[in-house]
């Protein structure tokens, strides 16, 4: 039985679980499954053992630092780690060893976590799944022939199989919520500005968000608590006080007003039967739990996609322009060709997208007047076979996740069942700006009522 972070923390606090034993169990699952799933790019075994022993010593002297003390985690390999190679899954950074931790890496370490290593991503969080990089892409633990979703792909695979109990991701157009949805776990893209991006390799400055992936909403709340907070090193960092994300986590959803964005999946982009069923079951569950449900309308998905991708591609090109001009052949094909598209927009087109963005933010805020949460699709269906992910798919079909990168509102992927192929499907819950605690609370209520989180991939059952 793989414990959640919350359960492991309870056992560690009660001295019925040793952090070193917990680490060894994770090592055993890595040894059994990572050769198939390719979740890890680098394992930091000596560091992990030192971390676990230090945690155990704190446990024995009654000096635990909190619920993350002794918890095995790993970082998406765009999070810089002092003295530990950070590659962005790219040949260009194959030997890059940062001298400083990203702010969120430091904060998670200070919370007492045990660092097991660095996790697969799409190249620079955008170019995947790719087969022409120094490391293979991560694979879906529910069926290794299938895609994990990206770009926090290694985190998705590793959490689903209990190689780690939680991990970090980044989300520029859906890169936390996609692997969370397709690997059957919980993942929250917090409000823009809540978690520092300092020390995380950028994809698109104004769309990038840092956040956690874990097995449950409560585990995400625990990780987010450690990651959130003002950071003067990040110019987009908010100086608002961080609430206690677990304080109201189990208060249920009675009285919450939930707006269902039905046109996203019924009109804008069609979803699978299982996903549609998962959405309807989630709505019925929330209604049964006492939430007030109504349908609301936002701008069409294509509007958010147009705005978001002009910004994403232009900013990504700006980040990579020197290398795309001088060392182009060192990138994998997918990143290289996708990012190059960003060179083709004019300055005026980028500015118009940022002007349109302000309209879209205002429109979403107005639509949420009198609404606590949105519920909408997260993915169109189960994960595709890993060899069938098209190079231009994200430009051809609007995603369900990009709207909330454009507006910066907090958004979370929560399990909603399984599809015909036996892989997970999900729904997306969205809060008002800095309403992350409400999103987590609703996700926890849905998990408790549906119990989908009791099922792990067959290979670790």
């Amino acid at each position: 039985m793989i414990p959640s972070i919350a359960e492991a923390a309870r056992q560690i606090a009660a001295r019925t679980l040793s952090p070193v034993e917990l680490l060894n169990a994770c090592h055993a699952r890595i040894a059994a499954h990572d050769a198939t799933l390719h979740a890890f790019l680098l394992r930091t075994e000596a560091r992990a053992l030192a971390d676990a022993r230090a945690s155990e010593a704190r446990m024995m002297r009654g000096a635990l630092r909190g619920p993350l003390d002794g918890i095995p985690i790993a970082h998406k390999d765009i999070y810089e780690t002092a003295g530990i190679r950070t590659t962005a899954h790219s040949r260009l950074l194959e030997h890059h060893v940062p001298t400083q931790d990203a702010t969120t890496v430091r904060k998670l370490a200070e919370a007492g976590t045990v660092l097991l290593g660095k996790l697969a991503t799409h190249e620079f969080a955008f170019g995947g799944p790719s087969f022409d990089l120094p490391w293979p892409p991560a694979r879906n633990p529910w069926n290794p022939a299938h895609f994990t979703g990206g770009s926090s792909s290694g985190t998705g695979a590793a959490v689903a199989t209990g190689m780690i109990l939680g991990g970090t991701g980044s989300d520029t157009g859906g890169s936390i919520r996609n692997p969370a949805a397709l690997c059957g776990l919980a993942g929250i893209k917090p409000t823009y500005g809540l978690c520092s991006r300092a020390g995380i390799l950028p994809l698109a400055y104004t769309l990038d968000h840092a956040g956690p992936l874990a097995w449950t909403a409560e585990d995400c709340a625990i990780l987010l608590q450690a990651m959130a907070g003002h950071d003067p090193l990040d110019p987009a960092s908010s100086d608002r006080a961080v609430p206690d994300f677990r304080a109201g986590l189990h208060q249920g959803v009675r009285g919450l007003r939930i707006g269902v964005v039905r046109h996203f999946h019924e009109h804008d982009v069609k979803v699978s039967a299982a996903t549609a069923q998962g959405i309807e079951t989630s709505i019925a569950t929330f209604r049964q739990l006492g939430a007030q449900i109504s349908d609301i309308s936002l701008a069409p998905l294509a509007d958010y996609a147009a705005c978001g991708y002009v910004i994403l591609l232009t900013e990504a090109y700006a980040v990579h322009q020197p290398w795309l001009q001088s060392a182009r052949e060192q990138y994998g094909e997918l990143f290289r060709d996708r990012a190059t598209m960003g060179a083709l927009f004019s300055g005026a087109e980028y500015v118009q997208a940022q002007r349109r963005r302000r309209e879209l933010v205002a429109g979403m805020a107005a639509a949420m007047d009198g609404i606590d949460l949105l519920l909408c699709a997260c993915q169109s269906g189960e994960a595709l076979p890993i060899t069938e992910v098209a190079k231009w798919a994200s430009l051809e079909t609007p995603s369900f996740t990009m709207p909330f990168n454009v507006t910066g509102f907090p958004a979370m992927s929560v399990r909603a069942g399984f599809g015909a192929g036996g892989l997970p499907v999900a729904v997306q819950l969205v809060g008002r700006p800095f309403g992350d605690a409400t999103v987590l609370r609703a996700a926890a209520a849905l998990e408790a009522a549906t119990q989908w989180h009791m099922r792990r991939p067959d290979l670790v059952q």
């Binding site: 002009v310 927009f345 430009l395």
Partner: protein, 64 residues
């Protein structure tokens, strides 16, 4: 909204990129996806409509 080879070559040159012919042809084939996006964004009717990215005067990274 098809862009001809010369027009596309000009865009690449402006970006400082020299691409193999086959790659340029593939990207040119996908270019209408970008054109559709910029057309969809349009131009806000209010000339004073500001972009989303605006710094506050007190931002610590701005020169004093």
């Amino acid at each position: 909204m098809v862009i001809d080879e010369a027009g596309f070559a000009m865009l690449l040159a402006r970006a400082g990129l020299t691409l193999p012919e086959a790659v340029a042809a593939e990207l040119r084939g996908a270019f209408p996806l970008l054109q559709a996006m910029t057309a969809r964004n349009g131009v806000p009717p209010d000339r004073a409509a500001e972009p989303a990215m605006i710094f506050a005067p007190a931002s610590p990274e701005l020169p004093r």
